[in-house]
């Protein structure tokens, strides 16, 4: 939390800046390398908003990037067009990534927030055979 400043120590208009300094080529800079300011939500964890969490099973992922495109909170971590994992500091457990995942079985599934990750993976469903 930023220190509590007096009325004369703000930028007029309650304006907050995303970065501590001027930035260049921000689109090609990875999130962890950006000079985010303390008032930017990147530095705030909202993971405790979740009651269910998405678990990623890389065995079935085809790197289609649907989850990355559809995530409303930029919480799918992708590198070089490969799905890497989930940013659990910002994921709010909405389940959209699971909904849009096209693989069979899905490569992302929702589980109880408190369930052990290995146990989640161990309980992954089998391929769902198409009905003839």
């Amino acid at each position: 939390m930023a220190e509590k400043r007096g009325w004369d120590e703000f930028d007029a208009g309650a304006i907050l800046f995303s970065f501590n300094e001027k930035v260049d080529n921000i689109a090609t800079t990875l999130a962890e390398d950006r000079p985010y300011s303390p008032s930017n939500s990147f530095t705030a964890s909202v993971g405790d908003w979740r009651v269910e969490k998405p678990i990623f099973n890389k065995d079935f992922c085809i790197d289609c990037q649907f989850c990355w495109i559809y995530c409303p909170d930029v919480s799918i971590i992708a590198r070089d067009k490969k799905m890497v994992g989930i940013d659990f500091d910002h994921c709010k457990g909405c389940g959209i990534c699971v909904e849009v995942c096209p693989t069979n079985p899905k490569s992302l599934l929702m589980f109880d927030e408190n369930k052990d990750d290995d146990a989640c993976l161990a309980s992954w469903p089998e391929k769902d055979e198409k009905e003839k």
Partner: protein
């Protein structure tokens, strides 16, 4: 590239056209508007200029006044010169976003063509909408005629966009009485008017990719008070010096002088009328007639309503014996705003004039020379008696039994 419009030195314009021409000359980046009587021609004229290639900027037609001001806020935060116009019910619908604009410190220019508020529905001029906006954190300029509307638009851009100020500003003019009355208006050539206003200088642009900014944050009990305090501090201490600087520059350019208050023969006046809008011009004419009869009367016009020129008023009324505050808005359960403000200004001053309140002109009812003579007569009687000789609040020009309170 927009075409230049050749103007005569004196054009016959109504207040709406005067405002639209000043907006055109300022070369605004975005106008988002939802037309409403009597401000419709401001937007209509502007659209005509756009269609005829006199404007380079964007013109956005939206679905409501709430949307109009919202689009203006977005465009202004993004980093452009922005303006719009409205009246009455449209202004009322804009109110929520007016507070957003001033709180975010975006320098939008809003022409308010003053009109009564329903119910009952009425399209004519009074100051109800102006009063509704007086706590919204905007700078409020007051035009008495079409010339003022033109001049104050150019002045308002320069004041609001100044980085020491960065606050939105309204220019008020009386619906129909100013907005639809054609008068001779002294003009500036396009290039001179634009040079006076100057290029828009972005500040904290939301879409500055090197330094992106978040607008419209949420602050609760541990932050909100500080932001509002900052906004009030800037209104109280930073706006008047810039306004006076711009008034001086405008006089140097055009010879036309504006001041925070219009001081018409106040120095030796016994009785003074305080008014806004077209009533100021009429009251000054009546004061001159009464002066010719040897009566010591004067007029104080409020040129800048917010911030309220408290100290200028105390100084200007330091020898006055009676003040008649004329409010053109229903006070709905108390005294009028001008009465309250002027009592507040004078209460701790060395001079304590008798102050009375007049409610007049609601829904476009005329304020006549005879009514004004009667109000001056009341004021002179109060000055002579050293105390009120009438009830504190009187209704002027309403049919039925005489209506007064307090």
């Amino acid at each position: 590239m927009a075409d230049k419009m050749d103007l005569l030195d004196v054009e016959v314009w109504d207040g709406n056209m005067a405002a639209s021409q000043a907006m055109r000359q300022a070369q605004i980046d975005v106008v988002a508007a939802y037309p409403i009587t009597p401000s419709t021609p401001v937007v209509e004229n502007y659209a005509g200029f756009l269609a005829n290639n006199y404007i380079d900027g964007e013109f956005v037609l939206v679905e409501s006044e709430h949307a109009a001001m919202s689009a203006c806020i977005g465009a202004s935060a993004a980093g452009g010169r922005v303006a719009t116009a409205t009246s009455s019910q449209g202004f009322a619908l804009m109110v929520e976003t007016l507070y957003q604009a001033s709180g975010m410190r975006v320098p939008i220019i809003l022409n308010v063509i003053n009109r009564a508020l329903a119910a009952p529905l009425n399209v004519n001029g009074d100051h109800s909408d102006m009063y509704l906006g007086r706590d919204s954190g905007w700078i409020q300029f007051n035009a008495y005629n079409a010339q003022d509307a033109y001049d104050l638009n150019l002045i308002a851009f320069k004041v609001a966009e100044d980085h020491r100020v960065r606050l939105p500003a309204m220019i008020h003019q009386d619906g129909f009485m100013t907005s639809h009355t054609a008068e001779g208006v002294l003009t500036m050539p396009d290039e001179e008017a634009y040079a006076f206003v100057g290029d828009f200088k972005p500040m904290n642009g939301m879409l500055d990719f090197e330094k992106p900014a978040t607008y419209g944050v949420q602050t609760e009990e541990d932050w909100h008070f500080e932001h509002k305090a900052r906004q009030h501090n800037d209104l109280m201490t930073k706006v008047f010096p810039v306004i006076e600087e711009v008034f001086d520059a405008f006089e140097a350019k055009t010879g036309r002088r504006f001041d925070l208050i219009t001081n018409h023969k106040l120095e030796d006046a016994d009785a003074v009328i305080v008014a806004m809008g077209t009533t100021v011009d009429t009251a000054m004419m009546v004061a001159d007639q009464l002066r010719a009869e040897g009566k010591k009367v004067g007029v104080l016009g409020l040129r800048v309503i917010r911030p309220f020129p408290f100290e200028k008023i105390v100084e200007a009324l330091s020898n006055v014996k009676a003040v008649c505050c004329m409010d053109r808005s229903s006070p709905h359960g108390t005294v009028g705003m001008l009465y309250n403000e002027f009592c507040g200004a004078m209460y701790n001053s060395a001079n304590k004039p008798v102050i009375t309140n007049y409610i007049y002109g609601l829904g476009g009812r005329d304020m006549t020379v005879e009514y004004l003579k009667g109000i001056f007569a009341d004021g002179l009687a109060n000055a002579e008696a050293g105390k009120p000789t009438t009830p504190l609040q009187q209704y002027i020009g309403v049919r039925g039994p005489k209506l007064s309170f307090l």
